[in-house]
Amino acid sequence: MVELKKNSSLLEIRGLVKRYTLGDSEVLALNGVDLCIEEGDMVAITGPSGSGKSTLMNVLGCLDDFDAGTYVISGEDVSSLTGDKLADIRNRLIGFVFQNFNLLPRLSALENVELPLLYSAHKDPKTSAKKALEVVGLADRMHHEPNQLSGGQRQRVAIARAIVTNPAIILADEPTGNLDSHVGREILDVFHDINDQGRTIVIVTHDSNVARHCRREVQIRDGQIVDIIEHNRSARELVAQAV
């Protein structure tokens, strides 16, 4: 395991354990995971299905609780938080990007992006949402509804929705999984762009090409981190050209 600076980490989990009961057998989805993520990092979490990466993603996203260990994000200990407090953390500190976009139908792109701000009583959700759409290059499509947009455009809207609250971390779950490869490439470019602007990104994926775009790759097997690979920039650029 690679040790990182302990006190200044944006996100830090220690000894994380998550159990599920399936029938009468108990499954250890996460079995003592330690992970630190620095501000501005771009991390891929990879592993085969059933490895626990989705569970880790849910815990990182404050969607799920866990049985043992600690989780501190942006200086806030969320280990013992539940319900509305977690909802508040999700709203302020986390931006989600899903494989199947998860935009609300019947709402325009702009309204979809505004949505997280409406839950935090933001003063001017419209202006912030427009800015976020500009960042992902969709300023000209802001009044379209999701079904009038292509898959890539939908995912851009989802990214805009994730960054609009200015969260500590963007959590993306197979963000290119439903897109063909060159559109997937464009989406990864968007992630690179916002990472270059200093945003911290965690991408959960089983696609090693996607993982190689990231600075680091955290590999998970059977609920444990088995390896952390550093991808240097030139290697990444090489991959980028190859893909």
Binding site: R90, N91, N102, L103, L104, L118, A121
Partner: protein, 401 residues
């Protein structure tokens, strides 16, 4: 999240399922319309009753010779009402007019035509107390009473039945076997339910008591009118005290007579109407309940259909109460919109559905009541589905297909 934003979301979701929303609302529309119509008709009936009672004179007090509280068999020993009792009433301050009344139902004949009608032996003041007007001729006077004149004043309906288009004045009619000269015809008042004041014959009470009925003492009623409505209770109490003394009743004895005033009659009548209104309104309210269950049913379907949306909202930071409020507002919106349309339908229905003598009268408080009830139903029946939505696990909700 701002209330208006939530309302907009709810409206949009209703518009997305127009037919479903309208069908769900229909339950509320019919329920509220029925409640409004029933309350309005009850109100109309009440007004009608009050008008009807008022039309038979203002501030009237009536004394009857029987106390309904005493079983009839015990009345044998009781004092009948007498002319002396009626005269004693004149001394009560605040009393305007008094008329003794003997009433019977008699066959009345003229020139081969005959009819049965209410025959009242009364004083000239009778028409003042009960607000009758004479359209031709004149009312008999105190001299006619003193002299036991065989004169009659007849109602317009009676005149029509006996005389057709002829002028009855000066003709002699036969009441049972006694002949009376018609000296006046009354202005029509319109039939009032079971009693038709237009088909009646008024005779001097002296003549009626001696020639027609042959009972020199017993009155069927004493009718009186107080100066002011505020005098009614005082005059009534005084009349009671005087009659108890005149009838030699000692304390502990029940009255052997019964006095009622117009306010009491109105009160009793409106109480009866109110009871019916309550009954009809309750039946209508049951349909509101059914409408509420319809809302609950549809909201449960909606929550299931929108599980994924709920998951997304939770993931981006919606709290439990945000989701709860969203679905609660949607349910309430359906019920209140249904309520508003129902009020409109009910108002129109109350206006156009006419019973024989009255139609519904809608008052603002009914509309307020109906709308609050529909809002209450939306909140009550929307709460369970909304709570179910708010309690969904975000991970499972996001996975829901």
């Amino acid at each position: 999240m701002l209330l208006w934003t939530t309302v907009k979301i709810a409206l949009r979701s209703m518009l997305a399922n127009k037919l479903r929303s309208i069908l769900t609302m229909l339950g509320m529309i019919l329920g509220v319309a029925a409640v409004i119509a029933m309350l309005a008709l009850g109100n109309g009936a009440e007004r009608h009753v009050v008008k009807w009672v008022s039309r038979m004179g203002k501030n009237t007090i009536t004394i009857f010779p029987h106390n309904p509280k005493i079983p009839p068999v015990l009345h044998g020993a009781a004092y009948p009402l007498t002319i002396g009792d009626a005269r004693a009433m004149l001394k009560i301050p605040g009393v305007k007019y008094v008329s003794p009344v003997v009433a019977s139902n008699e066959p009345v004949k003229w020139d081969g035509n005959s009819t049965f009608c209410n025959t009242f032996g009364c004083a000239p003041t009778y028409i003042l107390i009960h607000d009758f007007k004479v359209q031709s001729g004149h009312m008999f006077n105190d001299f006619d009473c003193r002299d036991m004149a065989t004169v009659a004043v007849i109602g317009p309906e009676t005149a029509e039945r006996l005389f057709g288009s002829q002028d009855p004045l000066g003709h002699t009619i036969t009441v049972r076997t006694v002949r009376f000269k018609v000296i006046g015809v009354l202005v029509p008042k319109g039939r009032q339910g079971w009693f038709d004041p237009d088909n009646q014959v008024l005779l001097p009470y002296t003549t009626a008591m001696t020639d027609l009925l042959g009972r020199a003492v017993a009155l069927n009623r004493i009718d009186m009118q107080a100066q002011h409505a505020s005098d009614l209770n005082r005059v009534q109490a005084m009349a009671q005290r005087i009659l108890r003394i005149r009838h030699s009743l000692i304390s502990g004895d029940e009255d052997d007579f019964w006095i009622s005033n117009q306010l009491q009659i109105i009160k009793i009548s409106t109480r009866i109407v109110d009871a019916f209104t309550m009954l009809l309104g309750s039946v209508a309210a049951i349909s509101l309940l059914v409408g509420g269950i319809g809302i609950m049913n549809i909201m449960l379907v909606t929550v299931t259909e929108r599980t994924r949306e709920i998951g997304i909202r939770k993931a981006i930071g919606a709290r439990r109460r945000d989701i709860l409020r969203q679905f609660l507002i949607e349910a309430t919106l359906i019920s209140v919109l249904g309520g508003l349309i129902g009020v409109a339908v009910g108002v129109v229905a109350a206006h156009y559905v006419k019973f024989r003598n009255f139609s519904g009268v809608v008052e603002p408080h009914m509309i307020v009541l109906a709308l609050s009830i529909s809002a209450g139903i939306g909140i009550f029946f929307g709460y369970y589905p909304a709570r179910r939505a708010a309690g969904l696990n975000p991970i499972e909700a996001l996975r829901y297909e």
